[in-house]
C-alpha cells in the first residue's frame, strides 16, 4: 500500500499565562492510502490537539513547536513561523471539527454554507457551479438533494452531521480529520455516518481519514488501525482488531475494560473505570506517564521513558510489553486493585470510601 501521510515528531503546547501545557509530545503517525486511523483516549489526552495539528488549524494559544508533515511526497514544516500554504487547508487536509453539526447558521439555508465554502477556495466559482457539485455529491451518496434548501432546524442531528461531512469534503481533500463526529449521535445515526464515510473512501472522495473519538466500539467498526493516546503521547498503535481483542498496553486494556456493551456478562459484573484522572500536562509524571494509574507498574516505569516495543506502525510504549513480547495485557491486572472506583487519585477522599468496597473486589475476582 502506498503511504498517504507521514507526520513525524509532532510537538505542540498551549501557552497561557506563562504556563506551558504540552498537549502533544513527540507524536509520529503514518497513514496509508485508503486507510482510517482511529485515535482513542480519555478526555484531555491530546486527541483533539493532534487533530488540530494534522489539519493545520493550530491557533494561539496552541503553538506547534516542531513537526513535519509529508503528504504525497510534499513536505511541510509545521513549526511556528513556517508558512503553510492556504490552499492546503480544505483541499489537502480538511477538518470536521467537534460539534460540526451546529456549524450551519440557523438563519441560513444549507446551500448558503455550500456556496460560502466553495467561494472561500475559488473566488470565481458561480453559485450554480458550487451547488451542482454539492448536488452531485449528495446523489452519489444516495442522500436527498432537497436538504440543500433546508434550514438546519428542519434536519435531524444525524442528517446535519452527514451534510456537514459532505460539505467539508466538497474539495476532495486527501485527508479528512474527523473530531468526535459520532459522539452526539444515537447509535442508528452513528451507523449511517460511518457507512457514509466508508462509501466516500471507496469512491475516493478522500484518501484517508483520521477518526478521533473516545468510543472504542465505534473505532473498531470504522478504523483499520487505532492509536491510543495518553497524556500527549501514543501509548499503543496497531491494527484495530488486535487492539480490541489483545491490547498490549495496560492503558488500552483499562480503556477497553470500561466499555459497556449489551451482552449478558455485563448484567452481573461490576465494571470499574480507570481510577484517577489523566495527569496535568503542565507537570506530567516522570517516566511512563501512565504509571500512577497502572496495575502493572515496575520500578523502571517511575523513572525511565518507556521503550517502543514493535515497529513504527505497530508498537506499545511500555516496559511490561518489553518483558512480555507479543502478549496481551491480562484485563484484570491493567489497573491497580486496591483503589476503588469512585475515589479519584487527585482527590484523596478521606472518609469517603464507599461501603461496597468489599463487594467490588468480590465481583471482580
Amino acid at each position: 500500500m502506498t503511504r498517504l501521510l507521514e507526520a513525524t515528531h509532532l510537538t505542540a503546547a498551549y501557552q497561557t499565562g506563562g504556563v506551558e501545557v504540552r498537549a502533544v509530545d513527540d507524536v509520529s503517525v503514518h497513514i496509508d492510502e485508503g486507510e482510517v486511523l482511529g485515535v482513542a483516549g480519555e478526555s484531555g489526552c491530546g486527541k483533539s490537539t493532534l487533530g488540530a495539528i494534522l489539519s493545520l488549524t493550530a491557533r494561539a494559544p496552541l503553538y506547534v513547536e516542531s513537526g513535519t508533515l509529508v503528504i504525497d511526497g510534499q513536505s511541510q514544516d509545521l513549526a511556528v513561523g513556517s508558512r503553510i500554504p492556504r490552499t492546503w487547508r480544505g483541499s489537502v487536509v480538511s477538518l470536521l471539527p467537534q460539534g460540526a453539526m451546529n456549524s450551519i447558521s440557523p438563519t441560513l439555508r444549507v446551500r448558503t454554507l455550500v456556496y460560502d465554502v466553495m467561494r472561500a477556495h475559488n473566488a470565481r466559482i458561480s453559485k450554480n457551479e458550487a451547488l451542482d457539485r454539492a448536488r452531485d455529491r449528495l446523489k452519489e451518496l444516495e442522500l436527498p438533494v432537497r436538504v440543500l434548501d433546508a434550514y438546519p432546524h428542519q434536519l435531524s442531528g444525524g442528517m446535519k452531521q452527514r451534510v456537514v461531512t459532505i460539505i467539508s469534503t466538497l474539495l476532495n481533500p486527501r485527508l479528512l480529520i474527523a473530531d468526535e463526529p459520532t459522539s452526539a449521535l444515537d447509535v442508528s445515526s452513528q451507523k449511517a455516518l460511518i457507512d457514509m464515510l466508508k462509501q466516500m473512501l471507496e469512491q475516493k472522495i478522500m484518501s484517508g481519514v483520521v477518526f478521533v473519538t473516545h468510543d472504542l466500539p465505534v473505532l473498531r467498526t470504522v478504523s483499520d488501525r487505532i492509536a491510543v493516546m495518553y497524556a500527549g503521547k501514543i501509548a499503543e498503535i496497531g491494527p484495530a482488531e488486535e487492539i480490541a481483542t489483545g491490547p498490549k498496553h495496560p492503558y488500552s486494556a483499562a480503556l477497553l475494560n470500561s466499555v459497556l456493551v449489551p451482552e449478558p456478562a455485563f448484567r452481573k459484573k461490576r465494571v470499574r473505570g480507570i481510577p484517577g484522572s489523566p495527569p496535568n500536562l503542565a507537570n506530567p509524571p516522570a517516566g511512563c506517564r501512565f504509571h500512577p494509574r497502572c496495575g502493572l507498574v515496575m520500578p523502571d516505569c517511575r523513572t525511565k521513558e518507556p521503550p517502543h516495543v514493535g515497529d513504527e506502525l505497530t508498537f506499545s510504549a511500555c516496559f511490561w510489553s518489553a518483558q512480555h513480547p507479543g502478549e496481551a495485557v491480562p484485563a484484570d491486572k491493567a489497573v491497580p486493585r486496591h483503589i476503588d472506583d469512585p475515589t479519584e487519585l487527585d482527590l484523596p477522599a478521606a472518609g469517603a470510601t464507599p461501603a461496597h468496597a468489599a463487594t467490588t473486589e468480590g465481583a471482580n475476582a
Binding site: 480519555e42 447509535v187 473516545h214 459497556l260 448484567r267 465494571v271 473505570g273 472506583d341 469512585p342 479519584e344
Partner: protein
C-alpha cells in the same frame, strides 16, 4: 406500526410496588396541521427501589417523557401518579413539594454550573428548596460522600477545577441533598468518556442498592441500559414499543425496532 409489547410476567406483577405510574400520557406540541405528537399513549410504572431505563433514538420522545415526569412540561392528556397521589397538574407550592421527592440530573455537566460559584455556593442555593439552612453543611458533606467525593476537597473548588466526571457527581450530590425518593437522570452520562461514565453509573447502582432509591435513567446507549437497568422501556417516535425486565427486552427482543436498535450498536467483539 406494530403493537406495543409488554413483557412483564403477570405472576410477578404484585411483587414490586410502583412508586410512579403514568397512564395513557400524551404530549402534543403545536396545533392543528402543525401538531407534533411527541408522546403517544404511553403507560408505564417505575417500581420502588429499581432502576428503569428508557432507550430510544434521538427524537423518540424519551426526554419529553422525562420532562413531564419532572413536572417541567404540562402534559396534553393522561394521568401520572406518585405515591398514589395525582401529580398530573401540579402548580406552585405543590410542585415545589414534589421536587423535594423527585430530583433530576441532566446531560451536560459543563453548562449546568455557574462558573463563578464554588461548589459550596452552588449546593447551598439548592438547599433553599429545603428551607432548612441549619443542616446545610452536614447535608452537603453527606451527599458528596454518597457519590465518592469528600467535602473538604471539593466544596471550595470552582467548576473548572473539577473533571467532567467529578462535575456530574457534584450534580448528583446536589440532587441527593433533597433526600429524594426518586431520581431522574436524562442522558446524565452522554458527555463523559467511557471510564468516567462507568464511575457515574456505579454511583447510581450504589444509590439503588444502599439507599433503595428509585431511578429513571434516560439514554440512547443500550450498553449502559444493559449494565444498569432492572427494567427497560423502549420508545420509538413517541410510542412505547416494548417494556419489561432487562434480560427479556435486551437478550430476547420481540419488537422489530428493539432488534434494529440492538443491531446498530457497534460491537467490540463479533
Amino acid at each position: 406500526m406494530t403493537q406495543s409489547v409488554v413483557r412483564d410476567d403477570p405472576a410477578l406483577a404484585g411483587s414490586h410496588e410502583a412508586l410512579f405510574s403514568a397512564r395513557e400520557v400524551n404530549k402534543t406540541f403545536g396545533h392543528g396541521r402543525r401538531a407534533v405528537e411527541a408522546v403517544k399513549n404511553v403507560s408505564f410504572d417505575l417500581n420502588k427501589g429499581q432502576i428503569t431505563t428508557i432507550v430510544g433514538e434521538s427524537g423518540s420522545g424519551k426526554s419529553t417523557m422525562a420532562r413531564m415526569v419532572l413536572g417541567l412540561l404540562p402534559i396534553t392528556s393522561g394521568t401520572m401518579t406518585f405515591e398514589d397521589r395525582d401529580v398530573t397538574k401540579l402548580r406552585g407550592g405543590a410542585r415545589t413539594a414534589y421536587w423535594r421527592d423527585v430530583q433530576a440530573v441532566f446531560q451536560d455537566p459543563f453548562s449546568a454550573f455557574n462558573q463563578f460559584f464554588t461548589v459550596r455556593r452552588l449546593l447551598s442555593r439548592a438547599l433553599r428548596l429545603l428551607g432548612d439552612a441549619e443542616a446545610g453543611q452536614a447535608k452537603m458533606e453527606e451527599a458528596l460522600n454518597h457519590v465518592g467525593l469528600s467535602g473538604p476537597d471539593v466544596l471550595d473548588r470552582f467548576p473548572h477545577q473539577l473533571s467532567g466526571g467529578q462535575r456530574q457527581r457534584v450534580m448528583i450530590a446536589r440532587a441527593l441533598m433533597m433526600s429524594p425518593t426518586m431520581l431522574v437522570a436524562d442522558e446524565a452520562t452522554s458527555m463523559l468518556d467511557a471510564s468516567l461514565r462507568v464511575n457515574v453509573l456505579n454511583v447510581l447502582t450504589d444509590l439503588r442498592d444502599q439507599l433503595g432509591m428509585t431511578i429513571l435513567f434516560i439514554t440512547h446507549d443500550i450498553g449502559q441500559a444493559c449494565y444498569l437497568a432492572d427494567r427497560v422501556l423502549v420508545m420509538e417516535h413517541g410510542v412505547m414499543v416494548e417494556q419489561g425486565p432487562t434480560d427479556k427486552v435486551i437478550f430476547d427482543p420481540q419488537h422489530e425496532y428493539t432488534r434494529r436498535l440492538l443491531s446498530d450498536v457497534p460491537r467490540l467483539h463479533d
